[in-house]
């Protein structure tokens, strides 16, 4: 058993955005955060139906749908999302990838996700391009993890197990400690 915390993945091709017949969901240019326009939603629940991660919820009192807002007011101020900051174990990192196609070695997120592939997207086979990446838990059998994260699980685990000897990660991700990846102080 293990706990998999999930938030809205603020996908590259959000199913919720495509499903809304009124275009009441949009993805921001400045930070890629996907939002429901709370004044425009009429509560059709097409987005609720469409999201494969089921991260849009219909609000019975408002009679409109709502979802994780990526803490965009905090992100606009240069802070991380509240769920990232509140994590007691400090196991969440929040930042920007450079682009999907041209990762830079000096961006720690590009490095972990795109270059070293130590963190993997959840259920990538849904095709929405989720932007929350998971370092697979070492104690969970590969077979189980592969149906969630795909075939890169074994290699990701190896990278993680080998962290204390991995000079490249220590250089590229300055906050890495010998016992694991640690988020940078704010």
């Amino acid at each position: 058993m293990f706990y998999l915390a999930r938030i809205c993945n603020h996908c590259d091709n959000p199913a919720c955005l495509a499903a809304c017949p009124r275009k009441a969901i949009y993805k921001r240019d400045e930070d890629g955060i996907v939002l429901v326009d709370e004044s425009r939603c009429r509560g059709y629940q097409e987005c609720v139906r469409a999201c494969p991660y089921k991260k849009v919820f219909y609000n019975v009192i408002n009679r409109a749908s709502q979802k994780c807002i990526g803490c965009y007011p905090r992100v606009e101020e240069g802070k991380v999302a509240l769920c990232v900051e509140s994590c007691i174990g400090k196991i969440r990192l929040h930042g920007f990838l450079t682009t999907q196609d041209e990762p830079r070695e000096d961006n720690p997120f590009d490095y972990i996700v795109k270059i070293r592939k130590a963190a993997l997207p959840l259920y990538p086979q849904y095709g929405t391009g989720p932007n929350v990446y998971y370092i697979p838990p070492l104690h969970v059998p590969d077979g189980f993890l592969e149906q969630m994260f795909g075939p890169g699980v074994e290699q990701a685990k190896e990278t993680y197990r080998n962290l204390k000897n991995d000079k490249k990660i220590a250089r590229r991700v300055p906050a890495v400690r010998l016992d694991g990846i640690h988020h940078r102080p704010l």
């Binding site: 004044s39 609720v48 009192i61």
Partner: protein
Amino acid sequence: MRFAYQGLAILFIGALLLASGCGAKSGPSAAMDDAAAVDKTWPPKGQVPELALTPADKLVVVRTAEKLATDNPYAKFWQDAPYLDVPVLKQNVASPQLAEASVASVRVQAVTDGDNVAWRLSWDDPTPDGVVDSGQFSDGVAIEFPIDLGAIPMMGHRGAKVQILYWKAQWQKDLDVGFQDVQDLHPNYWADLYWFAEGEFPYPIPQAFEDPRSLQWFIAHEAGNPMAVFSRTQPVEELVAEGFGTLTHQPESASRGKGVWTDGRWAVVITRPLKTSDPLDHQFAADGPEQVAFAVWQGSDENVGGRKHWTNWIPFTVQP
């Protein structure tokens, strides 16, 4: 050291339990006692009169000398308005589509007293659906008129608007038995606290939410969403559209209505002045060509939005 913390936690929780034990009755049982006093049966039980209706082969808005009732689809004057049964089609032109129709036709009647026009729509529906929750949808019916000549009946098109008068069973239920809150849909639901709300559970909406700070988490309401209205006065909404996805709520509405479900059939009356000064209202003309279209939603069949039954333009005349 660990065990000491656990010990402390148990002590703390114990103290809390002791403190809340005495005093006034609180909790779900108290709420249930109060709820039993108010009759929340819906649709409301009651006899409706038998109406002797006569069929017609065209749609005519019949002139009557009586003052029109805006809230009674079983008023006697409906017997003077011959009906047209209009077949409805499943909407399968634009996504999201309706896969299977569950309504065959809608019965249409219309009456005018020279100032207002009243439309009566009735159709078979074995279940009255006024609850909207995750995966559950409301019954509804809508009347559509062109605002601009030549507008297509499928929500109008760019450059040619339509006006839509929309009745929703959920809003009818809000008016009949009170605003449908979470505890009406889920009787065993319980909320400890709503910050800045008055009193205690069940925190009736809107009375417990006078303090503006208590509304901050009702985000659609705070954003001015017309769906998030807590004190609705009519179950009918006026809308304008100019093509798929452009449906827009009209803040000023002269439309009134009421829907009554009885014995497997909905009957809904929607009334409106013949003429208004709103440029986004259709203006009824006694001499001109008139067209109307209808849409019906069967909530128990997951009908919502574009998953609906619709009709093409039906010509009608208004008796002077």
